[in-house]
Every structure is written in structure tokens, then in C-alpha cells.
């Protein structure tokens, strides 16, 4: 489905059009479920999250009109933010952290970077200008929902150092992206 098609559907959902909601779900739920699965890492939580996300989409559809983002980015942002909220609210967080330290770091998939095009190429180029561990911290945070706490443990630095690192990396990243 084209971005225009999805925009149209979201606008119709804002007008409480349930048939449009069905079509929107059919054409976008696989992508959003992929987001939930990647961030939450287990199916049952991802399924619960996906339900909450489409309830939010139904309720917030009227807000889409005032954003200047692409419709799929808008939907993915809702899914990502919700999944990260769920992740942060998990109790106890420690079990999660211990598990995360044990598993190998997600490295950027070289094949995926190679096929990425246009805008993706740009952000990857800018990320590549950072030191590799800092770039992977930024990617890990965005794609896997990793917290400062977890990143600090993984990189074996104090929390504040991690935060300083990341903020400085974000600063460089922004300079590159807005160049």
C-alpha cells in the first residue's frame, strides 16, 4: 500500500470508519508486530502490545493530520514507544538486565546496511562516523529498546559515563545529519 493510501486510511479511521480500520490493520499489523517482537523479545507480550497499539491508533488517529511525518513512521513510532514503555515498566528489571548481559550484542547486519537505501543510507553513514561501540549503542537503543542501565552494564562503564557518551554521540550525529 502506498503512503498516500495509508494516510487516507488513517484519516478515515479518525472519522470512526471501521472498514478503514480493518484495512489499515491488514496492511500495517505485520510491520508493527515486527517492531513489538524485536523490542519485547517474546510473542505473548508482543501480542498484548499490538492490541494496545491498535486501540491507541483508533483513539489517536485524529492527531495524525497535524504531524508532518509519513504515515508508516507515525504508526511505527506509536508501536515503538508503546513497546519501550512496556519494557521499562517490566518488573523485576534486574532479571531482564542479567539476561541481556549474557547474550551477544546485536551487531548491525552488514547485509541489511548494504541493501538499505536513500534516507537509511544517510543515517547509517552518519552513524558510521561515530566510534563503532557508540554507533552500536545508538542502534541498539533504537532498534532493541535498550536502556541506559543496560548499555552501561554491557559497555562496562558507570551510568553517567554512558549517558555522557551517548549524548556526545547524538550531538555528532545531529551535526552530520543536518549538514
Amino acid at each position: 500500500m502506498t503512503p498516500e493510501g495509508i494516510s487516507e486510511l488513517i484519516s478515515r479511521v479518525a472519522l470512526r470508519d471501521r472498514a478503514a480500520f480493518d484495512v489499515l490493520y491488514n496492511s500495517t499489523s505485520a510491520k508493527l508486530f515486527g517492531v513489538c517482537l524485536r523490542i519485547l523479545g517474546n510473542r505473548s507480550e508482543a501480542e498484548d502490545a499490538l492490541q494496545d497499539i491498535y486501540v491507541k491508533i483508533w483513539n489517536k488517529a485524529d492527531r495524525f493530520a497535524v504531524t508532518d511525518t509519513s504515515p508508516i513512521s507515525w504508526l511505527v513510532a506509536i508501536a515503538r514507544n508503546h513497546s519501550i514503555d512496556v519494557l521499562r515498566a517490566r518488573k523485576p528489571a534486574t532479571a531482564e538486565l542479567e539476561k541481556a548481559v549474557g547474550i551477544a550484542e546485536h551487531s548491525p547486519d552488514p547485509e541489511q546496511s548494504a541493501i538499505a537505501s536513500g534516507e537509511t543510507k544517510r543515517i547509517n553513514e552518519c552513524l558510521d562516523q561515530l566510534e563503532s561501540d557508540r554507533a552500536s549503542a545508538v542502534r541498539g537503543a533504537y532498534l532493541n529498546g535498550e536502556s541506559y542501565e543496560l548499555l552501561a552494564i554491557r559497555h562496562r562503564v558507570p551510568l553517567n559515563t554512558m549517558r555522557t557518551w551517548l549524548r556526545r554521540s547524538l550531538m555528532k550525529l545531529k551535526e552530520c545529519l543536518e549538514r
Partner: protein
């Protein structure tokens, strides 16, 4: 653009908090505070939107995965209070999960009914025109219902719970008595797949015939007999 401060000082400012919110790294309370600011502070909301635009291209790396088919019904239930607003919304009656759930329950009732009828009469009436099978397994989540119409020789199958696994196919088999399983085909969609059943195979579809679903490589078993685990099975009964 500001210059980067000495290596050990943390850069400060709303723009960083906005970026941290978008990246998702903040702890729970700080994240909640930032979310509240997005609602109430337009300047902060703009910073967040700007960072989100920068990171949006990374979304390409989230790989699409089909969600289980029952989720949409649960969402409709929460939003509209009925399991299938789908009928009202113009979706096909045959795709309605509520309908198939009802059928599954009805099928179980029928098994009991047929048993009682057999017990009383010990005889069969005129040739049945519709057959139904409810398939499940004790060990897995998959439940499925198939309805066969003798007149059109069409067999329609849908998954009531569970889903078609990623990178695999589900194949439907007919097992009559001690004969080898005969493939009826591969399920095209969890919502419903319709098979045209050849006359020779239709003749074997009757009370007591077993229908089973196995997990196979994409496109179906390469050998013509089931190669993967049987994830649901059930016997056919007439309506």
C-alpha cells in the same frame, strides 16, 4: 551548532532529553516525565518530532511478521464490544472469528449428538450433504474447523486459534481407515482456505474419516506424505 565540550562533561539541554526519549534509553520515570512534556510543551514536542524524523529511516530494519489471526478480533472486542464488528464493517461472514468459534462449539456438540443418535438408531439416514471436522491437539495451540459441502465438493478450512508458522506451510491431510494419508492441499490463509476436492477423494470423506494438519516446508510436503509434526487432527462427522 554548539561545540562539543571537554570529554568528561555531559552535554545538557532539552534537545538531549528529546533525543533520549526518541531513542528509548530513559529509565521509566524520566521517560514518563518526557512523555508528559510532549503533551504540554509544544517546543519540547517539536524537538522530539525532529529527532524522530532523523531516526525514522532505521525503521526499515524492523522485519514484518504476520500477527496471529485472532488478535484483530480481540482488538475489535476491546474497541467495539463485540468480537466481530467485522460483519457490520462489511467483512465477509465466512471470515468472522465469532462465527467460526460458534461452529467449533457446535461441532463438538454435534459429535455428542451423533454419538447419541447412533446409539439410539444404529442406522444412517439419507446421504449427508455437509460434513464438519474440528481439529486440535492436546500439545499445541492450533485449533481448526473444516466444513465440506458434498454438493459443490468444496472443503473450507479455517484456523480458530494458532497461526501458520513463519517460513513453513500447514498441509491438510485426509486419512481414511488404514489408507495412507492423502493431501488435500496447503492452507493459504489462517482466515480461510477453500479446497476443491476431487470426486475420488470426496468419496472417502464420511463420518469417522480423520482430517489432520501437519507442518511442512513452504509449499507442502515434497514427498506426498506428511513429513513434519501433526499439529491438529479430528474426525469428520455429518451435520
Amino acid at each position: 551548532m554548539s561545540t562539543i565540550p571537554a570529554d568528561d562533561t555531559m552535554p545538557e539541554g532539552d534537545d538531549f532529553v528529546a533525543a533520549e526519549y526518541v531513542l528509548g534509553v530513559l529509565p521509566e520515570q524520566e521517560r514518563r516525565d518526557a512523555a508528559r512534556r510532549i503533551e504540554n510543551d509544544p517546543a519540547f514536542a517539536r524537538l522530539v518530532a525532529n529527532w524522530q524524523l532523523h531516526f525514522d529511516p532505521l525503521n526499515e530494519q524492523f522485519q514484518s511478521t504476520t500477527a496471529p489471526s485472532y488478535l484483530k478480533g480481540q482488538i475489535d472486542q476491546r474497541l467495539f464490544g463485540i468480537d466481530s464488528g467485522r460483519v457490520a464493517a462489511g467483512a465477509s461472514f465466512w471470515n468472522s472469528l465469532a462465527f467460526w468459534r460458534t461452529v467449533a462449539v457446535a461441532a463438538l456438540a454435534l459429535v455428542v449428538f451423533n454419538f447419541a443418535r447412533e446409539f439410539v438408531h444404529r442406522q444412517t439416514g439419507p446421504a449427508p450433504t455437509q460434513l464438519i471436522a474440528s481439529m486440535s491437539s492436546d500439545s499445541g495451540p492450533l485449533r481448526s474447523v473444516a466444513i465440506f459441502d458434498d454438493k459443490s465438493r468444496k472443503l473450507r478450512i479455517t484456523l480458530v486459534s494458532g497461526d501458520i508458522p513463519r517460513d513453513k506451510s500447514l498441509e491438510l491431510w485426509l486419512i481414511a481407515g488404514k489408507d495412507a494419508p492423502v493431501s488435500l492441499g496447503v492452507l493459504a490463509s489462517p482466515k480461510g482456505t477453500e479446497f476443491n476436492v476431487p470426486t475420488s477423494i470426496a468419496a472417502k470423506l464420511r463420518d469417522g474419516t480423520t482430517l489432520a494438519i501437519s507442518v511442512e516446508p513452504v509449499g507442502g510436503s515434497p514427498s506426498g506424505t506428511p513429513t513434519g509434526a501433526v499439529v491438529a487432527a479430528g474426525s469428520v462427522s455429518s451435520i
